[in-house]
Amino acid sequence: MKFLRDQVDKIKPTFSEGGKLSFLHSTFDALETFLFVPNHTTKNGTHIKDGVDLKKTMFLVVIALIPALLFGMWNIGHLQSLALTGEDGDLFGNFWVGLLQILPIIIVSYGVGLGIEMAFAQFKGHPVNEGFLVTGLLIPMVMPADIPLWMVGLATAFAVVIGKEVFGGTGMNFLNPALTARMFLYIGHTPDMSGEECWVPIPEGMAAVDGYSGATSLGNMATASAAGKPWSDDLLFGGSIMDSVIGTVPGSIAETSVIAILIGAAILIGAGVGSWKIMLSTVLGGLFMGWIMNVSADGNVWTDVPAWYHLAIGGFMFGAVFMTTDPVSAAQTDRGKWIYGFLIGVLTVLIRVFNPGYPEGIMMAILFMNVFAPLIDYYVVQSNIKMRLNRVKV
């Protein structure tokens, strides 16, 4: 440790003010504090502080994302093998295919995002915030595997600059940055973000076997609904809801496996980093709206699908666990969190059922509620104020 510290101290002046590379000060500072917790001490306040900091918190979220990411990598290889040969490949081979496909996306996302963050930090003279460690991984995880890399770069830049920095950087943004990136691409490049082809990359010069369809369950259901067909389990990819629970279905890179996502949820809740209130209320909201649809069923695919299926198909669980719980863009009061989550669940199902053009609802629902979160908080705060005013009268 001493040796490493000496080396850092030796090159530090080069990056400090007046040094040759002082324009890289923020970048150096970010790397230095990554390597070493600074030797600062407390001033003007509590003399001791809790062992937790934002680096540790963000790192925990990254850990929680890993199971879903690893499963997503394997799943891409698995689906590609099914598409090309009609048979499943071996575990390692599947994983390797997925890794090669996804790693460049992650590198582009981190590279572009961190580059912009560091430039802003240097320009505005503040330290680089750890928030992007999570955002930079979330962005690839909600992309289709076959996404062109330039789109990933563009979307990341958009999310960081327009979604975050113009509002004052981490902690000030009102939209979830990763979903902002996804929304940007979804609106600007819809064919690359939905349909049958984008989820599973088919190498050039090769073709899928006959009878293979890469359509997602939600896609199938939308088509069936438009054709006036009734609901049946055959509409699900793989023919059973269990495929969606395990995650061996097409979808955005890491959104498919409910099991892997629940492992992440357990990590987030166990570490106290993600709000279980939001996760639970989102699930309850989805179930509630699904149940309402079921009891008012009119023979349509969307109203007849069992309520809990909504949780397993599409990106519902991924959104409920990793996206709704972004503390900056979610409601910040305790009671507000319950309302916020519940409405996201309700809206997700509503969008799925009533929006013919767009089968998935969770992204829209979260972004929509991001906008309304401050309003929810406003009313919760008002109730506290009213309580205090009433006390005077009594």
Partner: protein
């Protein structure tokens, strides 16, 4: 039932219900409340004091520090070289000349230490061998009026022990407060066990509370903890005893006020610590100022953590000399959450009855955010070993991370038992929104009430400092 019977019956019901509500009020009035504090945390640190009292060498110098009083502008009444007796005025409050800050001992004024912009930091008195005290007329104090005891308290220098809320400032001499609250225990990390420090003070406490009762037409609340021995208060009469249970900050008087009888806009409430009530009791029993007190000296870097018998304003050399076990330490007058950093040969703060000595944390820690090299106190389950396995911590002054913008939410609420929205209140101060600050209850809190929030803050924000700005702003506007 005929008419008259019915009337009698109804009258009976009415009488019963009236007597019932009267009884309820009566019971409520004298029984006090039972309050369970759920949101909070005890921080257990190494170096808890042994419960024996060591008689410290009498220090040579004593000091009164104007900075211990919020917003005080001192007006000097003595010069360097002047002789003073214990209880004689050193300086007064520029805004209210009645409020005297007196010398704890008899001796010679040795130094008036000034800091930035000539602000007075310390008025140091070198003690004489033979102690002399100014005497005060306390004869027949039982029959004295509120104004009469007030005059004695002001001239003897025990008035400044009273803290006034809102804002936590010196008590206004022209006002009778809505209530006076005394927290009968201290729940802060390494805090003194008052059963030890106030042992033998039963009679002084009784007299002290008797005097306090003359200062308000409202109630005097004595707030106790179900786990702490409160036999020292056995002789105290005429107060409402409320019982608290649960972790720190249950011992903070601000939390107790919020649970018992919250401060609304326009209310004035006074608070005072029990050791200071004992000083007042002593003054009215003996007729002179005697600020002898037992203090706790604790912390992982203290060789002999124990209780020491000394005096208010004492130079710490007498208790810390040869009593600190390592080189690079921070000496704190008060506790690790709200105390003031002092030098090894600095002086005990006016309101403090304890010294904490902990290691400084000015060392780099390789990947410390990822794999901590030693256990540290935490509320967060992201450090499972620290949270679930370690019992006592050797905490240092490293903040374990850098300041960041607010990201995490719901964290302050876990350690804030008052019905106040902590993060929203702090944000309203940051945006200097006076109306919102008022609406969110800034009148009810002072800095110490937010110390735990500051401790647990993931973004390492200096919450107490921000709140302090808000309180100053509110006071300025009012």
């Amino acid at each position: 039932m005929d008419d008259s019977k019915e009337q009698n019956f109804l009258r009976g019901c009415l009488l019963f219900s009236q007597s019932h509500t009267f009884a309820a009020k009566f019971i409520k009035h004298f029984m006090g409340k039972n309050v369970k504090i759920k949101h909070g945390m005890d921080i257990s640190l190494e170096g808890v004091a042994e419960k024996n009292v060591i008689i410290a060498n009498a220090p040579v110098t004593y000091a009164v520090k104007p900075k211990d009083f919020k917003g005080l502008l001192p007006k000097m009444k003595v010069k360097v070289g002047d002789k003073v007796k214990a209880g004689e005025c050193l300086f007064t409050d520029k805004k209210n000349d009645q409020i005297c800050f007196t010398s704890p001992v008899s001796g010679t004024v040795e130094e008036v230490l000034r800091g930035d912009r000539r602000a007075i930091l310390e008025v140091v008195v070198k003690a004489d061998e033979a102690q002399e005290s100014a005497s005060f007329d306390v004869s027949d104090y039982q029959n004295k009026s509120g104004d009469e005891v007030k005059a004695v308290m002001l001239s003897a220098g025990v008035w400044p022990f009273i803290v006034q809320r809102p804002y936590g400032v010196l008590a206004d001499t022209d006002i009778a407060p809505k209530a006076i609250h005394v927290s009968g225990f201290d729940s802060a990390p390494l805090a003194a066990d008052l059963y030890v420090t106030l042992n033998g003070e039963e009679e002084n406490l009784k007299v002290g509370f008797e005097v306090l009762r003359k200062l308000t037409e409202g109630d005097v609340h004595l707030n106790l903890h179900s786990n702490f021995d409160s036999s020292i208060y056995s002789k105290v009469e005429g107060v409402i005893r409320n019982t608290f249970s649960g972790p720190h900050p249950s011992g903070l008087v601000g939390v107790q006020i919020n649970k018992i009888d919250p401060i609304n806009k326009g209310d004035i409430v006074w608070t005072i610590k029990p050791q200071h009530v004992a000083f007042i009791g002593r003054l009215f029993t003996q007729g002179n100022l005697d600020l002898s007190q037992t203090i706790v000296v604790a912390g992982s870097e203290v060789s002999m953590p124990a209780y020491y018998s000394t005096k208010l304003g004492a130079n710490l050399h007498s208790v810390l000399n040869n009593n600190i076990s390592s080189e690079n330490v921070r000496v704190i007058s008060g506790n690790v959450l709200t105390g003031t950093k002092v030098n090894n040969d600095g002086f005990l703060g006016f309101f403090d009855n304890g010294i904490s000595v902990i290691p400084e944390g000015d060392e780099y820690e390789l990947l410390g955010w990822l794999v901590p090299s030693y256990a540290r106190p935490t509320l967060s389950s992201t450090l499972p070993i620290s949270k679930f396995f370690k019992k006592k911590f050797k905490a240092n002054t490293n903040p374990h991370g850098e300041e960041r913008a607010y990201v995490v939410t719901g964290q302050y609420e876990k350690v804030m038992p008052m019905d106040i929205m902590p993060q929203q209140l702090i944000k309203s101060v940051m945006t200097k929104d006076l109306e919102l600050m008022e609406n969110l209850g800034i009148y009810e809190v002072i800095e110490e009430d937010f110390a735990l929030c500051e401790f647990v803050c993931t973004s390492k924000i200096n919450v107490q400092e921000i709140l302090s700005e808000g309180l100053a702003l509110m006071e300025e506007e009012s």
